[in-house]
Amino acid sequence: MSLTLDAALAAAQENPSRRPLVEIISSQRSDDIPFDGTFLTSETFSEFGVNLIPHSSGRLCIAYCYGPDADRDCGIKYVYTDTERREFTPVTIELYTDTSRVMVGVSICELAGGNIGLVYLVNDTVSHLYRLMRRIVTVTGAAAGNAEIAGWSHDTFTSDPWVQTLGANSYLLVYGKKSGSNYYLYKRTSSDFVTWSTEAALSIAGLTSTWRLSNPSIIRITTGDLWLWFDVLESTGPGGEQLTNIYYSVSTNGGTTWTAAVRVTNYDGYGEVGGHPVAVQKAANQMNLIFTRKVGALHMDDTATGWPTGDTTVELSWDSTNRKLYAINIHNGGGTKGLQCVVKIDVDTWRVDQYWDATTTPGFPSVICGGISATEHVWYCNHVHDGHIIAITAAHVGSSGRWLWVLDGEANTITNYYCDTNVAYGFTQNVTHSISAHYGSFHHCQVDAANLRVYLCLVDTYVWHPKVSVGYIDLTESSPEFHEIFNYTDIDDTEAYGVSYSLHGGMWVDVDSGYIVLSCSTGMWPGAMLVFDLETGALIVKWTSSDIDFPYYGLTKPFVYNGKIYAGMCKYTSGYDQGGFRGLAEIDISAETITLHRPSYCSSDDHYFGRPSLLQDGRIAMTHTSYGVAVFDTISKTWSLFSNNNIAGFTADGKELASPSQIAYDDTNDMIMVGDAGVYGGRNPQGVIMFSANGYIRQASYAIGTNPGGGWSFSEAGSLVQGFLDYDAAAAVEPGTSTSAYVFWTHEGTDGEKSIKWDKDGSSVDLSPYIAGEVATEQTISGQPATLSFSVSHGHLFDPYNLSSLLSPVLKKGRKLVLRWGEKIGGVDYWQNAGTFFVTGTSLGFQRGEYPVMQVTAEDQRCLWQHGHVYATEVYNNLPGEIITDLLIDLANMTLEDINLPAFAGESRLQMQWIESTLDEIITQVCERFGYYFRFDCDGKAHARRISNTAGIDHIYPDNTKLIKYSPDDKYSDFTNRVTVRGQEMDFTTVQYAEERITQLSGTLGWWGCKADHVVWYSDDKSRRCLSPRLVALETSTSIPFQLAGGVDEHIEECAAGDDYKFCTVYMKAPNLIGMLAASIALYIVGNKIGDAVVSWGAGWTQPVGRLIEGLAVMPALMILGSTANYQIEVWATPLGSLRRSVQGSWNDEEHQTEIKAVVEQVVDDPLCYSVADCVAVASFEGMVAQMQRRRVTITKVAHLQDEDGDTIRVTHPYSGEDLDLFVASLKRTFKKADTGGDGYFFDEIEGWVVS
């Protein structure tokens, strides 16, 4: 379906006289808010207290305080832009050259005539005065006068001043100040900015006189009313905490009188408060309130959008590269310690990105999920994760439960590593190992993301053979193997139990120093600590309770930093001469010395520390149950504590942490994250807490006020910026717009340095005025992304590294570009969308004497997919449109509104799971299966069009008045005249392979009645199926007694069909000759007791009856005793397999075969063809393409905005005049506005197939 243009625009395309237009709009792909911001300067001294105004000339004028700098100077930075707001120009107004004067704040306004008025407050520590100053500069920063307005003791509370232009030669100055025990907002007025009235307190009802009023700001809204915003200190807590809220008062008479104060925010606790309000108005009856939200800590639990049920956050992992926090939630109370979920949190936006549990794809097995409802324990605090690699092990009840699941949160994959098979769970062993069967499960694990290893600790606590083993699985191995590092047996059962004990014992693998540390502690039995060499597995050192300097009950979860083990004491004891042992142990591994550090903030004997984590500057942090998060400085050996006592709102319910959790740390923002796992039967678990290592979080926030008539109301506040020490924002609406505003704010770094950042709401920029030279787009059916290329003037301003430019973010890589072509018709601009692109590259050469033109290339959204690896998709059995839609939503973050797919002609269900591919490859494969190609339509929506040589004509050119060039062109063609497509049937067929030897068995049978039953699996992994097993006897056990007793039984039985032909059983049974032996022995004894008989007949003789009987008895007894014999047999069977039968279909261009007297065959394997008909359909399509490539022409014509790739158009052959129907395989549209030499154009270059 070709484009339908506006009627006027369509008519204009036919005219010989054209007025073409082009427009390119650049915008951010994601939401502008919350802002990430760009630094205004690269200065290394503090800059703060920014305010700005839009100047009547179109400039943006900004003022902020700075200093002291390296020379100890301080003053004001005045920054202005050009009138088009493209470039910042800073002007330094150095006020003082020593640190005895401290800049407090500065405000800015425009004076009559266009000069700039600055009012600022200085703390003069020499004269002990606050000095309220004014200064006039030209709009470009030239000094025009300055003086002091007033001064007073700097012991009098005074807040930042705000100056507002009320009208021509009318200025209002307000500031907060204390008088006696009351606080007021004072005003001063001036008609020339030089002479100011004496101060007068504003009369604002609705406030308590002793409430501190500060940070006033004024906005003059479209009605002419003045809105005075300020924050109010309503109460002060016992620790000096301040509860502040935002208020406003309105003056309808230019500041003479003010209405009663209205409270806008409703903070009622010290944990979260608001201050420093400013407001901007983009449109009538709408106002954006911006203020600083000061928060003790951020919280998130399972009430957050995207977080499923279960917020017992016991483990954390911090991915500093992608700035994501992983919260691992595991039930930590009575019952099964099952996994609740793993939640991925974007800390910058403080929103849930994704989660994983048993319901997700990929997901964890249901037997370990569901928290207390799980079948299997996973336990908690015994997994140490690393970045986006999360490792979960199960603690199987009983033996043979050595299972590991590794989640890659960025790749969105969960990989199973099974050392044991569990048929009921559907777990099949896939890890090769030689782990002793005594080890039932993995007790501890630790991820090493850099080397893609998971270290695993197994413990055998059985009293007869206690031992511990550590090894690792290499995540890069395609056939994973458990690589054992050591198997240590010199350990008693209580020590082994101490290692296995999840609550206390633990493992730490320190890859940098090459140590494996095992901690044994239970709180009941003596503890121990063992250090092994990571490389060799050799024991380096071991401490036990017999070491007098080692805490008797051992240490808890260990952590190694700087060659020392840090771990909390498990349990205090006054015995064993250890009455002075308390707190955190610091063990120097090489010196073998132990030092204990007792927290300075508490006097308890027991300190329940969680596993320490490294912050920075040698500080380590750990949970301290019932206290908070303890921080120990390993250099100064000092303690500090973060808790509800010093951070209001540290926990959501105001109660201290009740159980251990891991700590994560964002060193970029100096933010500490901890799980608030609650305690079973006590405090509810409450997810994750994030707080600043510097105390409070201060973040610029905003609320939108609206007045539909009848009064103003303000929305709930949202984050305006992404940083957590980014505050005191000010804003100015962009002149001439009602949608865009510039916002500047103070950003505080981890070192305390303050800098100014800025950003823009409504950051889209029309690049059309900057376009220089050609604009070209190219769209093809080849599967390649559509491209856009153009050049812009002012390349130096678009340089993303030019901090002085307001346009520097506009052409950053990945920025979204929306293209429109158009036509000026009768003075009116008509437009047609022409696609959405993303900047893929820019180039710019700065060279003296040459104008900096920037070349820009962009591609459609497929450029984001081409290198994005897809590990595995869902298993599909759907129609192509459904598959593509699902993939785009899952993998490309698109919504249904972004997708405009047609029904695929001849579509059928595709059964497929794609593994190790890219989204681009998958979608191309699906489309090509049905003869389509994927594209984005002119509105930027995902779309597909059919490649056809039989489509209807979309556009007829009746003559050659638009044709500029024509040429036959078959350069992409070859001689293919037969295409064979091979596929596979969808269903599997069972087949038998040639009989083969499965295994060989051997053994010994004896007179005692041996029975040997051998279960013979057809493969080691117990997955192979075989039929008709049979025995081949290489050596058979036999003897006369066996034969006499019925012979040796050797037979084989095939398993039942229900066991899926995976094993057989070989039975070997020898008769039991014990009875016969006993009879023989008895007979012997009897014979032995019978004396010789004397026969008196004749001469008489002695008859040895007894010996004869003995002889008769001994012989069979000896034969029986000698009846032990070896057997050796082979088992043979016929393996079974499942195959998908091949199918194939062909297409022939017999005419061409005859013409060239040759068959040139192309063979294509298509896994999406399931029948001969499928193969023939695809072969016909591929054949048609091969055929059409030989019928290719290129034409250049005057651009027509209706034409698109995939259209079929009719042109006239320039010589014969015959109709020529062309399928548009590629369309390149070029536009260039004529320069002074008249070199301009607007052409379509089409590569098309002649289909008529």
Binding site: P16, K824, I964, Y1241, F1242
Partner: protein, 129 residues
């Protein structure tokens, strides 16, 4: 005729002997098609037009002021009025070229001499609203 850099407003002591007519240029082109012609036009605009002003000779002071403007390398406001009354339209311009010769032989010598064959090129950036 006045040039103003925001600080100094200089009224030409001698009008140029010739000057490009100040009018909008048309941006257009045409291409022959197989059976016709295609004409593209992007309308007219004064922005980007170069004005060439030339003097047979001028006093040194006038040259000196022009040279000050030229070396300052900043946008200027150009009032092209010819009769002493302010023009209806003034323009923000850049002085892109200034050339001339010393005019020796009777009119003085050295830096104080007149200049001859002076040409100045002004690039119109925008029309002053």
């Amino acid at each position: 005729m006045i040039l103003n850099d925001g600080v100094t407003s200089y009224t030409f002591s001698l009008l140029p002997g010739s000057m490009t007519v100040i009018r909008e240029d048309k941006s257009c082109t045409a291409v022959q098609t197989y059976e016709g012609v295609a004409y593209f036009s992007w309308g007219t605009s004064i922005v980007g037009k170069e004005l060439s002003l030339s003097w047979n000779a001028m006093p040194a002071a006038m040259w000196s002021q022009f040279e000050t403007f030229f070396t300052a390398d900043a946008p200027l406001e150009f009032d092209p009025t010819l009769d002493g009354t302010p023009s209806a339209k003034t323009y923000t311009v850049e002085m892109t070229r200034l050339d001339g010769d010393y005019f020796l032989g009777g009119y003085g010598t050295g830096a104080g001499s007149w200049r001859q064959n002076v040409t100045m090129t002004l690039l119109i950036l925008s029309e002053v609203p």
